[in-house]
């Protein structure tokens, strides 16, 4: 797993912390032939599970809005830019999901790495 550029602790905190419920981000899972399960996430870390590729279902994520959410609600403009770029370069929605998943996964790994390297900093709340 390739880590993206070194991340400051403050950004790492924002990536791993939960946003308030009112600023949650809606996601879903489409499970043909029957299921559309609506849900939401409150942290970038949760997106890893939503976007993880599966053979039997599609993640439901509006990429443009996701980038805006990461930029404004999470507070990670660099991560948002990565999501925008990955989604724009993908030839299909499914390809975009895979590409964005990889960016998110790496971003979260970078955040965890940044916090582990700064042990004096208190770990972020997993739930607000």
């Amino acid at each position: 797993m390739a880590l993206t550029t070194a991340m400051d602790v403050e950004t790492a905190h924002r990536i791993l912390a939960s946003v308030p419920h009112v600023r949650r981000f809606p996601v879903g899972h489409l499970r043909p032939p029957t299921g559309l399960i609506p849900s939401f996430v409150r942290s970038v870390g949760e997106l890893e599970f939503v976007l993880a590729p599966r053979s039997d279902s599609l993640p439901g994520v509006h990429m443009e809005r996701l980038a805006a959410w990461i930029e404004h609600d999470v507070g990670d403009p660099a991560g948002a830019a990565e999501v925008r770029a990955a989604a724009a370069a993908a030839p299909s929605y499914v390809d975009a999901c895979v590409a964005v998943y990889e960016r998110i996964r790496d971003r979260v790994a970078s955040a965890r790495h940044a916090l582990e390297s700064a042990p004096q900093v208190q770990a972020p709340e997993r739930r607000a």
């Binding site: 939960s18 308030p20 419920h21 009112v22 809606p26 996601v27 879903g28 899972h29 489409l30 499970r31 043909p32 032939p33 029957t34 299921g35 559309l36 399960i37 609506p38 849900s39 939401f40 996430v41 409150r42 942290s43 949760e46 599970f49 939503v50 993880a52 599966r54 039997d56 279902s57 599609l58 439901g60 994520v61 509006h62 990429m63 443009e64 809005r65 030839p91 299909s92 929605y93 499914v94 390809d95 997993r126 739930r127 607000a128």
Partner: protein
Amino acid sequence: MALYGYAGKILRLDLTAQRATEIDTAKYRSWGGGHGLGSALFWEFCKDKTIKDGRNPANVIVVASSPLNGTLVPSAGRSEVVGVGLGMYPYSWYTRSGFGGRFGTMLRQAGFDAIVIEGRASSPVWVDVRNRKVVFHDASALWGTDTQTAQERIWAQMGVPRGTDTGWWDLNASAAEALDPATDQGRTTQKPAILTIGQAGENQTGGGGLVHDAGNIAAVAGFGGVWGSKNLKAISVIGTGEIPVADAKALLRARQVTKEKYVSDLQQPDFAAWTKIGKQPKLMAMVPPPTDEFRPQACQGCISGCRARYSVGYGSETKCQVTSWYFAPSRRVAKSSQELIEINLRAADAAQRYGINTYFAITGLHWLEHLVEEGVLGPGKAIPSNLPWDKYGTLEFAEKLIHALSCREDIGADLADGWVQAAHKWGRAEDLRTGHMAFSYWGQPDHGYDPRAEVEWGYGSILGDRDICEHCFNIIFTNITSSFAFAQPMRIQAKDLVGIIAEKLSPYAKNRPEVLDYGDENMYSENVAQLVRWHRHYTRFYKQSALYCDLRWPDFYNTNTPDNRGATASDDAGEHVWWNAVTGDTLSFDDGIEIGRRIWNLDNAIWTLQGRHRDIVHFAPYIYETHFEKGELFPFYMWPCRDEQGQWVYRDIMGRTMDRRKFEEFKTSFYRLEGWDTASGWPTRATLEGLGLREVADTLEAAGRLGKERA
């Protein structure tokens, strides 16, 4: 004369007197089976049809099978439950639920097509049904046990061989009869099929369901809570009888045609085929299998195997949304995909053991989380709760929440009588306006298909008695959306797709593709009213009375066939073909729709007696006052529509809202087409008598609730 497809008898259980009697099925033959049979029996035996709470002792519950159960008909192995429900809002209607497994087949082999449950036992009982012999047992020792423990103890009490070392056992062992040494009469290798309640039912909660085996639950409608109010813990059925089939050759021919024509070629499977009956068998868990070591499991006679038994020992037999009710919270704490799967499947197991409907939890948890976040719910808050909210997302929290909801503890004390009732009690009715509490109709949660988008789902639910949970048309959405997602060419263009489907919407919408226009301009039209009518009547007979599985039927279009026509309504393997082969009837497809219309009208007569009037037939306020935002999930939410030039296209319909006035106009169209009073929504005498329901019209008239004929 043989009553092909039927056991021939219906069992009446008078719990008050602890007496079992039999009646002939023949009298009710015209209602088919399942729901139709149940409605006819409810109408006859429920003496007070004004009751609005299923716990009323006058309530009558019917558990019914279909003539197709246990035959070779593919994907027709379910059972139906009807009666007045529990926990709905503002009233608990006469309603329905269903479950899979082997109960319906075993009931018929035990000699009965249905069970009518009346009265209330003075203390807990369970009922043992074996080859038409019925014994009431004291269930005091079982009261308080979960659904799995209850079944295991009953099997043990009956002396059923357990584990892998099963063998023949004698159904008459506890009776006086000796075995006939010349035959296997009375001996079987099968376990009794048991339908039981857990703590959620015993405590008479609106979430209480009826559970059979490990993971088949009749969840919606609170029938478990109704059983709890009747002190009925379980019914066990087993038998060695057989069901006579009218035309075995025709049955095998339809099976062969299905295999060769409609089902994906197993040598060269088309995993992306657009079809329902022809799909590859696959698991229906919303989370991936926890292990590669599992055995698929199906309802008796089904070709799907949509559930599994896993070697890991958890998550077995459960499927669909039950496996994902805790998905959003658990993502917060899981450290790996495997842990996420395990939390969710163990949370599913907890729900099945307590016998509780988890559909409330998916949407309801979003609402509870909102209340916690607002600071009104939690320890010492306005809505006090001592649940470990700091462990929200863990399995420990899930199990404590399920326990509280099932046992009327903590917030469960208020939520047990209905989530919307709790919202009003807590002063949170405004949440139904903002959509924080997305409970769309009759106190039940949004299903994921929104009335503002998938209109036939929403209209069907509000014009009926519950969230319909009928996936007949949303396969259009899932197929189209999947193709868009992969940026692949459409297997079928919009014009061709709606044309093929409309061919099968006989009689009201036959060859009228405009009924499938999901666009803004068409969503309140008479076209859509005809679609909703067809859907209500189709499902009332074929899906809920013949008990064809929702996952496999109807099969409108099918890319396994050269002309893309699916099996539904076809003359070689359509729904009526199977029905006729088993029963010896000569029904056309349209005849089945007409039986469904008759059942639907009887149901509406019962709702009318309960207090239904068109004035209360409306959605929760957020449906009218907020925009449909599911499109936020995907960059598109595609349905067939006609564009400004009248050409068929797949179009994104996200962002719209529902116009309250136009919906009222839609209701008027629907009532008029149904032959109901447009002012009240009540059935009229002419309509009821046209369906052979004069006695029903007389009853409504005597109650002052017969609809008026209007020009």
